[in-house]
Amino acid sequence: MLIRDCMKQNVRSVPDTATIRQAAALFVKYHIGMLPVLSSAGGLVGVVGLRDLLTLELPDFFELLPELDFVHDFGAVETTRPTPQQLDQPVVTKMHPATFVLETDGLLKAYALMLKHRLHDLPVVSSSGQLVGVASRVDIGTAILAEWQSVGGESA
């Protein structure tokens, strides 16, 4: 089975000219975790994840703390909101380079990439570089498990 057989073809994406506010609205509307960022020609220029946008509310210094057990109440952190200026920044300022697979790649290669880069969604591109789909960890994982059904049992 190839990645193109399990990916979602109905892909939501955001143009590279959009603002953070516009991208955030798409995340909310479609309830997704990752948005591919496309150039006007439709090429994949990068991806922006929920986490990338959420650093505006929860700065990533949290990662420097060895643990958080001792914090029982996040206080003002809970109510801090980004400023209008921050939300009107272009979304490309929060974008990072995309880790992607080709539509003809195998499932295990895709799964290995996800583990390696700790991703939950992987863009799939055609040989010409056009975005053709997105595969989530669940899409890929269940597609792999589905093939187990054809493995014959001892008793069979």
Partner: protein, 428 residues
């Protein structure tokens, strides 16, 4: 003569590479040491044995021993525990928080590495400020500035002190009687000045003080058993430092023994512990020692000292005060370790020519120590808090440092100069 010029050229090029950050300082010190040692072999003024003997193992041993103790204390969460505790005790009151966090940072950096202290305390500081809904900048800057200032107080507080103590033969107690009193006054001045410079930020009443009261310091402390053992060993080591003279042992011996005892008592994963030690600093020191040893062997320092003989005409008190400001000015822009290592042989040369250099050593201690406060790149602690602040909503900029950090440097150097001049006979 040609040997002297070539050795000086190698040293100056290395110094330029380090100061301009064209090449990593540790790599530079290794290639510079290799170049001077090779030159010494070819022109036969510096043998391999002499090059090895030039490495001051008292300095390296003391640093390695203390670094090992810190490396073991780091994962226990003890320092985070104190920072969280300081946050709670302050009850979210900005000025109290500044004093508490500043004091905890200072006390640690008097005995432990400034950078490790700041690296562990700063993230907790940002967290407390985020919870309170206040700007962390005053607290982060205060921690860097006060840890640099506090580090000047003791022999083990700061690498330049270790170097100077080893060269000048100063004991741990010499620092307590000469440096600590000056640092106390300078520290209080720095704190008062920070209180004034950040008066606007500190006057804001945090919107969310209840949340800070729900912080639980004990839950930040992961391994009290280990922390307690290391603190006991550390306390015994400091006690041994007090008695280093009657015991006839070097600080390096005490620090290495303490590290060994702590390792046996705690038996940590040794690979983990060794990985936490900043070996690049030790290699950097080793390389610089070999380079300066080569300069000495090539006769460069004699030339330099001949040139400096006119200094005799300047009144000694003024010479010391000039030294404080000159070294501080340099240390504000570049690492104070290469400056100290380069100046040590110059002072030794002046001493050999008959000048009383004891007061100049103390001037070097104050200049190198307080100078680092001047700019955002003046000390490693400054660089660390600035880069940590980039992960918050309000990064510390170089311009801000010049407005709030530079006055602290000028004030501490002024305090040091006044006390130095007033009590000059005590420094002789």
């Amino acid at each position: 003569m040609i040997a002297g010029w070539l050795a000086a050229l190698i040293f100056l090029v290395s110094l330029w590479l380090i100061l301009s950050e064209k090449l990593n300082r540790t790599i530079t010190s290794m290639i510079g040491a290799a170049a001077i040692a090779a030159l010494g072999l070819i022109l036969s003024f510096y043998s391999e044995e002499e090059a090895l003997a030039a490495i001051d193992f008292n300095t390296i041993g003391l640093l390695l021993g203390m670094m090992t103790l810190v490396a073991m204390l780091e994962p226990t969460g003890f320092i985070e525990f104190l920072a969280v505790w300081a946050g709670r005790v302050s009850r979210g009151h900005p000025v109290r928080l500044l004093v508490m966090l500043g004091t905890v940072t200072t006390v640690f950096s008097m005995f432990l590495d400034n950078v490790t202290t700041v690296v562990l305390i700063a993230p907790v500081t940002i967290l407390i400020c985020e919870i309170l809904g206040i700007n962390p900048i005053p607290y982060l800057m205060a921690e860097a500035l006060l840890s640099d200032t506090g580090g000047v107080a003791t022999l083990v507080g700061d690498p330049p002190n270790v170097l100077i103590a080893s060269a000048a033969g100063f004991s741990f107690n010499d620092f307590l009687t000469h440096s600590l009193p000056v640092v106390l006054v300078a520290w209080l001045t720095a704190l008062g000045l920070l209180r004034f410079l950040f008066r606007k930020e500190l006057a804001l009443k945090p919107p969310n003080t209840d949340a800070v009261m729900k912080l639980s310091p004990l839950e930040a402390l992961d391994d009290w058993r280990t922390a307690r053992r290391i603190l006991i060993v550390l306390a015994l080591a400091v006690l041994a430092f007090f008695f280093e003279e009657p015991l006839h042992v070097s600080p390096a011996f005490i620090a290495m023994t303490a590290a060994a005892v702590a390792l046996v008592w705690v038996r940590p994963n040794i690979q983990d512990t060794l990985r936490r030690i900043d070996w690049s600093v030790l290699v950097f020191f080793g390389g610089l020692f070999v380079m300066v040893g080569g300069l000495e062997a090539a006769g460069v320092l004699d030339l330099l000292v001949d040139g400096l003989e006119r200094l005799d005409s300047i009144p000694p008190v003024w010479l010391g005060v000039i030294m404080i400001w000159l070294v501080a000015g340099l240390s504000a822009f570049v690492d104070n370790v290469p400056i100290t290592i380069a100046l040590i042989p110059v002072l030794e040369g002046l001493g050999a020519s008959g000048m009383n250099i004891e007061p100049l050593w103390w001037a070097l201690v104050f200049g190198a120590g307080f100078g680092g406060n001047g700019t955002i790149i003046g000390s490693t602690a400054n660089i660390v808090v600035a880069s940590l602040s980039e992960r918050t909503r309000t990064p510390i900029t170089s311009a801000l440092w010049n407005k709030r950090g530079l006055p602290v440097m000028l004030a501490t150097c002024t305090v040091a100069s006044i006390l130095y001049a007033l009590f000059y006979p005590l420094f002789e």
